[in-house]
Every structure is written in C-alpha cells, then in structure tokens.
Amino acid sequence: MARYILYRLAMAVPLFLGAVLLIFVAGHLAPGDPVQTMLGDRYTPATAAVLRHQLGLDRPLTDQFLTYLWQLATLRLGTSYVNPGLRIGDLIGTALPVSLRLSALAVAVAALAGTALGTVAAAAPGRPLDRLIQFGVVLGLSVPSFVTAAALVYMFALRLHLLPVAGWGRPADYALPVAVLAVAPLAFITRIARSSVGQALLEDYVRTARSKGLRTPRVLFRHVLRNAALPVVTTIGMAFGTAIVGAFVVEVVFNVPGIARVAVNAIFQRDYAVLQATVLVYTALFSVVNLAVDVSYAYLNPRVRY
C-alpha cells in the first residue's frame, strides 16, 4: 500500500511539473508587456529597463522558470501586474476556501442523493420509478449547467420567492449554487450506483439472503451496499473534479466570490499573472484529487496491488 502511494506520487510529480511548465510558457506567450502595463503613463525605455531588471524579466527563460518554481514551492505567488499592490496569494487565500466549500457541499449532496436514487432505481429495475430516474440522469448529463441554473433561479427565486437571486454569506445563498453544481455529479453517481447495485443484486449471496426470508431493504443494507460501494467511491472522487470545473459557470452566474470568478475576472482584465496562478491552483487541486481517488481505490479494492 505504501509502495503504491509512493509510486503514484512519483507519477504525479513530473505531471504537475509539466503542467507548471505549460502554464509558465503560456504566460510568457501572452500578448502585452507586463512592464508596460505596470508603468502605464510613466513608461520610458530607461524606467522600463530598470523595472524589467528588478522583476527579473530580462534573465534567460530557463532562469526565470527555475525562479518561478522556487517561488511556487515557497508559496509566493507574486503580485498582480494590472492591480499593483494586490498580492495574488491573498486573493487566492480568500477565494479558494469559498470554492472548496461550494464544491464539497455539492459533492456531498450529490453523493448522498445519488447513492440513494441509484439504489432505489436498481431495486426495482424497469419499473416507472427506475425509468423516471434514468430519464433524470440523461437530462442531468445533457442539459448544460447554466440552463439548469436559469431554470432553478426562475422557479425558486423569481416566481416562488423562496431563495435569493444573488449574494453570498447567508446559508440561503448557498442553496441554489450548490443545487446547480450538484446536478452533473448527481447524475454520474446515480448512474454508477444504479449499475453497481444492480450488478450486486444479481449475486448468489443475495439469492441466499432472500431465500432465508430477508426482505429487500435489509438485504440491501446488510450485504449489497457494502459490496457495491467501490465504484461509487471512485466516482465520488471524480465527481469532485467535475464539481471544481462546473464551479466556473456557477460562480459566474451566482456571483460567488470563488477562485473561478477570480480567474474569469483576470481574463477580462488581461491580468495574466493572476490567471496563471489560478490555473496552477486548479491543477494542483486536480492532481491531489486524482491521487486521492487512485489511492482510495487501491485501498478499497484488494485486487489492486503494486
């Protein structure tokens, strides 16, 4: 087990470094000169040269990359070029917890509801409830999140006045964003849970339990769910990744002060340093999530060994 974790870590590090390199190169290919942006009206070739030297932008690219790596390692993300005085570390420090909270809530809701729905559907295959749930899954996977967002906002905020349209901080503000963000993971998890529980219900031990006289709910709880849990757990990990990405639309629509909104604003302001930093944070998050998913899978499945 420890060997597997080490192996996975060894795989993850070069991948992450490769991603950092990609992001670094992309940042340098960006149009516009950061020195010019910073100096604005006070730009003269002499001042520019001095500033460029101060920032280290006149050193060879390999040097700059290594410095960049070192700064990342010590978590110094620099300052924004467009909004000088704005420390990127602070910006991300306030925005990241918001996004994480949102995603975690969404995945939790999706996991609980998805497992429940999938199990219910698998317990009565082919029946109207199962068909309804399956239809819901297809809708959840195909209908874009902003459409769901609009529908939910229209229904609950504008017509029924149950929930606020925008704002952040009060518990009620969480309801709609979490609901919208949870739709896609919910569909995924329901589908996997349904197929996994469905498979497990065909096993011999279920037949034995039933012939002993146990009724379906007891069979499910005592035997089936434990064995069917494995694919669902891995899907939950993947669902977290989906939620992190889905946050882009949700944060833009509901104006949630999270990392995705920071990234989108950075794009509109041409603030490439901030954009780079946010993409890096996302990549790091993703690597961690993938690592956790793989390790949890290896832990739960005795057949995966290295």
Binding site: L158, V245, V252, V264
Partner: protein, 278 residues
C-alpha cells in the same frame, strides 16, 4: 446496414433526423431567415412568437429565430471543426504510439497523460483567455482539450489489433509501415473514431457554449447559443422566453449527439448482430 439498424431504433432515428435538419438549416442559414441576426427593430422589443417572428424578438428587437439559426451556424461549425481536428490528431497520435510501442509509445502517451490531467474547461479558458477569443483560437482550444481522449482510445485499440494475422500478413508481403498503418490499422479503428467523434461533438458544442456563456468564446455581435443564454439572464424575470429558445436548441442538440453516438457505438461494434436486441 446503418439505415436498417436505424429503422429499429426510433429514438436514434429521430435524433439523427434532427441533427441532419439542423445542419441543413445552419448551412442554408441566411437564405432561410427573413431577417439578419443583428437587424434591430426598436419598436418590437420582447415580442412573443408571432407569424412575423417565429421565436419572437429579443431585447433589441432582433428576430430570435434568425439568431438561433445563425447561432447554430456558429456553434455547429466551431464544434464540428474542432471534432474534425481532434479526431485527426488523436487518430494519428494514437495509431503511431500504439503501433510502434516502446519508447515512442511511452513518450507520446506521457504527453497525453499530461494533457488529460487538465480540467477541460480550464484548458480552453487558458487558451482563449491568453490568446484571445477569435474563432480560430476557440477551435484550437477545443481541439486541445479533446484530442488526448481520442488518442488514448485509439492507442489501446491499435495495441490490441497490431498482432492480428492481417497485419502480419501485410508485413510478410513487404508492406511498408506507413502502408500498414493507413491501409490496415486505421480502417479497423475507424468505428471507434466515428463513435468518439459523435460523442465529442456533443461535448465540444457544449464546451463552446460554456465558453461563450462565460464571455471568452464567440464575441458579440456574432450570436452563439451560450452567449444568447447569458444575455437572457438579465431579463429572466419578465421575459423567460428569451432563455427558452437558445437553451432548448442547445440541450436538444447535445442530447441528439449523445443519442446518435450511443446508437453508433452499439451498431458499429464488431460484435453487433442485426435484428437482435441485447
């Protein structure tokens, strides 16, 4: 064979028919609509569906039907161009990696692993955010997000079939490697490419809509369904119809691509037997 299989699956047939009609409409585009997508009529704001405006008008009096059709033009051409690009790139990459194996395979697949690790929307946003949201950049960004998946699928299949007798036979007859790749391997992975391309079409059309929705995709005045949906949010309270039409168009298109893709994956599977329902 396909047509007969379609006759047995009404849902897939309906989806395929819808997509065909959509493409025809998109291509015919300006010829089919009475108004252009940016013709404003400030006397006729927010009208509902009438004989003159089949889908009503928007906040500037522009004809919604024309905008939807033009949006189809834009979304479909971007999506399909991206699919073509990523299929070609993924097919070539995967075939070469799968056939040669060894160090070549290892190196090529490391690149794929690196890109697959990136969340797709993030990659697309990075590209269009930094290099600008021109149509070419959007297509490039979408290709970048989708080709690693195709490459991986194709490579697995090529690894599975490269030891088959017909490949051996071709080699024994003196076929050069390029010939083997093109004449023998590619046709035998073609069905995977087709299925993947269809499913990727749904993903990429959705991705383009998402990019346009956020604001880093197709820019106004060119309409895109995602952009139209974003604009409709402001008027949601009084005029929900503005949202309904582009949202429906987008959703139905995505669902149709998914249904056709799953149909094709069932029908093109070499183990498929016509007339037998699994």
């Amino acid at each position: 064979m396909l047509v007969r299989a379609l006759a047995g699956d009404r849902l897939a047939a309906a989806s395929a028919g819808f997509l065909f009609a959509l493409v025809v409409l998109a291509v015919a585009g300006p010829l089919a609509t009475r108004y252009t997508y940016d013709a404003q009529d400030l006397d006729a704001l927010f009208r509902g569906p009438t004989a003159a405006h089949w889908f009503g008008t928007d906040q500037f009096g522009r004809d919604s039907f024309s905008r939807i059709v033009h949006g189809a033009r834009v979304s479909l051409s971007v999506g399909l161009a991206a699919v073509a690009g990523e299929s070609l790139l993924g097919l070539t990459w995967g075939t070469v990696a799968g056939y040669y194996g060894g160090a070549v395979d290892h190196a090529l697949m490391r690149v794929v692993d690196l890109l697959i690790g990136f969340p797709t929307i993030l990659l697309a946003i990075l590209v269009t955010g930094i290099f600008g949201p021109s149509l070419a950049n959007i297509i490039a960004a979408l290709v970048l997000t989708a080709w690693p998946g195709t490459a991986r699928t194709i490579r697995s299949e090529v690894v599975a079939i490269r030891e088959r007798e017909y490949v051996d036979g071709a080699r024994a007859l003196g076929a050069t490697t390029p010939r083997i790749l093109v004449r023998h391997l590619v046709p035998n992975v073609a069905h995977l490419v087709i299925v993947r391309a269809t499913l990727d079409a749904s993903t990429l059309v959705l991705a383009e809509a998402t990019l346009s929705f956020i604001g880093v995709g197709v820019q106004p005045p060119h309409p895109s369904w995602g952009q139209m949906i974003y604009e409709s949010f402001q008027y949601l309270d009084g005029h929900p119809l503005l949202l309904v039409f582009p949202a429906a168009a987008l959703s139905v298109t995505v669902i149709a691509f998914n249904i056709v893709g799953e149909f094709l994956s069932r029908v093109l599977d070499p183990r498929y037997v016509a007339g037998r329902r699994p």
